[in-house]
Each structure stands twice: as structure tokens, then as C-alpha cells.
Symmetry: C2
Subunit: 207 residues, 2 copies
């Protein structure tokens, strides 16, 4: 268990899928809260980052104001890149990819949710690695980096310090796993309980 | 199945728990997208509403810009009130409760996630009804309306047109159920699949 505070950066952009990053954000922030309630005082910093520091509009229309621009962020302990239709634009945004490459080189964990993996693939960071994405984008990911091994039907895949999650809500599972690594599995379970992550299917019986 | 477009309003406020409302928002928006992909053209409108129409800061620090103020919203088909520490302030905010009472009277569905149920309780809308909330707030809810029947260990509870979900991520389950009611259970399952809502515990084996 690492007790030094970590800097967790979440990259957001126009067309980012809302739940892709708000899910993991909630996990990391709730993990902090649970840790603090136990009398600890070393919570992690969670930073929303957009390329120019300006607000972004999500894939489904929600409007978010980030905390920083990429120019303001030189290093991160954890980088998280969410997915969404906007990745199709950002995966050919070279200045952004250059920043991703620079940050990834120094990060403890390099993570993606859904089609966020496309940016790592385009940046050459998935070569020779196992990786996953949304089930609807598995082929596109394999085409983007034909030197990567794209796995299907996994909630998340860890290869070295690269951890990629499947679609949208799978980012929550990945973030809980990461919380277990960063603190302890028990701490991750307490975080999971605090956010009551334990779904029932939509066709369950009603009262 | 109702084919007329519905107006879904999500009330946000300072101290709103981020995932409480972004989860259901994602469900409703993804439901729209799945519906549109099938060649339909009647998606629902999803509106983020703050009391004065100004941006709010969530319980964990995320900054959101709403679409409307309460003064601009006279009727809704679905009202959703999320939870978060901010509910402790809003549950004694009489102008806001008056709006909640007015909107609820005309709504098809009146819904809450987590401690959002406290606002309905304070507004007198849970009297004689079965209702749930986050496991950590069950007692507070029972104290707030001692004429309500507060149920524990349910992902969500439906009593008439009042549907209340348990903590944080349980709002996703509730929204998927509601989507099944508004469209069809099959449509809700397609929406669930599009957002890959099917968690694995954080201690699952890694690759």
C-alpha cells in the first residue's frame, strides 16, 4: 500500500462519454473519502484535464468544466483516458497524443475506459500488449494497432502498467481494481460498498 | 410503449453526488441513442436543472453547467433527484421544495437516487409510501418522514409513480428499469449492453 498522495489525471474532450470517466472519478473520490474517514490525511488528487483547459461537451451533451489544461500537467501517477465518439477526433490530434506519450512514460498506471484505448493505440503505447475496449470497437482497435493483442469479453485487462477497461460502466470495475492495488482489496471493497456498486438487471422484480 | 417524447429533468445542486445522476443520465441518453439507431426519431429530452440555472459543484468537486433553472421548467414527465451531502442543505430549501411539489404533481414518474429521497420526504411526498435510500441514510429518511415505510437492501423501490433507488450506482439500475417501463424490457437490455453494465467485483482475477 502506497501512502504518498497520488496525482490522478482524467483527460476529457468534446464527445467524451459521460459515464466513462464519471464512474472512475466517483471510485477514486469515494476511495479518498473512505480513507479520510478512517482518520488518514493523504487523499489522492483527482484532476480533470482538457487540452486547452476550456469546458467540454460530452457525447450525450453534458457540460463539464475541467481543472487544468495539458500544458499545466507535466507528470501524473495515474492517467485515465475515457472513450466516446470524441476519440475518433482525438486519436488524430497529434499535440494531444504527444502529451499522452510524455505523461505515460512517467506514470505508474496508464489506463483507459471504452474507446479511450484508441488514443494509446494511435500513440504506439499498445504495441505487443494485451488490451481491450468497448465490444463495438474491438475491430477498430485491432486495426489501429495491429501489433496489439485485442481481448474480448473482459471487464478490464492489465498488461504491465497499462490497464484498459471495456465499455462505459466497465471503467468502474477497473477503477475499483486499481483502488485495490493502490490501497488494499479491503479498502476497494469498502469503497464499492460506499457507492453501492452491485447492480441488479433491469428486469428484476419490483416491490 | 409510449412513443411520444418525454421530458426528463434531473435536479442538480452544490454537493450533488456525481455518479448519482450521471449514471441515470447515461442510461436515458444511451436509451435515446439505441432508439435512434433503430431508425426512430422520437428521443426523450434530458435536462439538467439547477435552482438558479448557474453551474454547480458536486460533492466530490466536479463542476457541471446545467441546461435550465427551475423557473424555466414548469412541467416534466420524469423528475429525478439525486443525492449527496448537498441534500442536507436542499431539504430545508423551501422554494426548491415548492418547485419539487409542483413538478411532482404533474409528472408521470417521480424518482430519486440515494439521499435524493430526503427532499421528497421533506416535501411530504413519501407519506404512507414505500421508499429507499443509501444504506447509510435509512434512519435519517425514516426520521424525516415517520409516515413513510423505509425499506433496506433493495436496489430500488417502486410505489405508485414514486421510484426511489438505493445509494449512488443503484440509480443506474433504477434508470434501466424505468427505461424498460417507458420502452420495453428488451430495449432496456439493449441499453444495458450498449453501456456494458455488468460489473465484476474489484478482486476479480487479472489477465
Amino acid at each position: 500500500m502506497t501512502t504518498a498522495p497520488m496525482k490522478i489525471g482524467i483527460l476529457i474532450f468534446d464527445g467524451v462519454e459521460e459515464l466513462d470517466f464519471v464512474g472512475p472519478f466517483e471510485v477514486f473520490a469515494m476511495s479518498n473519502e473512505v480513507f479520510e474517514r478512517q482518520g488518514n490525511t493523504v487523499p489522492d488528487e483527482i484532476i480533470l484535464i482538457s487540452q486547452d483547459g476550456q469546458p467540454v461537451v460530452g457525447a450525450k451533451g453534458m457540460k463539464f468544466t475541467p481543472d487544468a489544461s495539458i500544458a499545466e500537467i507535466g507528470t501524473l501517477d495515474v492517467l485515465l483516458i475515457p472513450g466516446g465518439q470524441g476519440t475518433r477526433t482525438e486519436m488524430v490530434n497529434q499535440p494531444l497524443l504527444d502529451w499522452v506519450i510524455k505523461i505515460s512514460a512517467g506514470a505508474t498506471w496508464v489506463t483507459s475506459v471504452c474507446t479511450g484505448a484508441l488514443l494509446y493505440a494511435k500513440a504506439g503505447l499498445t504495441r505487443g500488449k494485451k488490451v481491450t475496449t468497448h465490444w463495438g470497437a474491438l475491430e477498430l482497435l485491432a486495426q489501429t494497432d495491429n501489433a496489439a493483442t485485442v481481448l474480448a469479453n473482459r471487464r478490464y485487462v492489465r498488461d504491465g502498467n497499462l490497464v484498459s477497461a471495456a465499455g462505459v460502466s466497465a471503467g468502474i470495475d477497473m477503477a475499483l481494481w486499481l483502488t485495490g492495488q493502490r490501497f488494499t482489496p479491503d479498502h476497494a471493497r469498502a469503497t464499492q460498498r460506499a457507492m453501492e456498486y452491485d447492480p441488479a438487471p433491469p428486469y428484476s422484480a419490483e416491490v
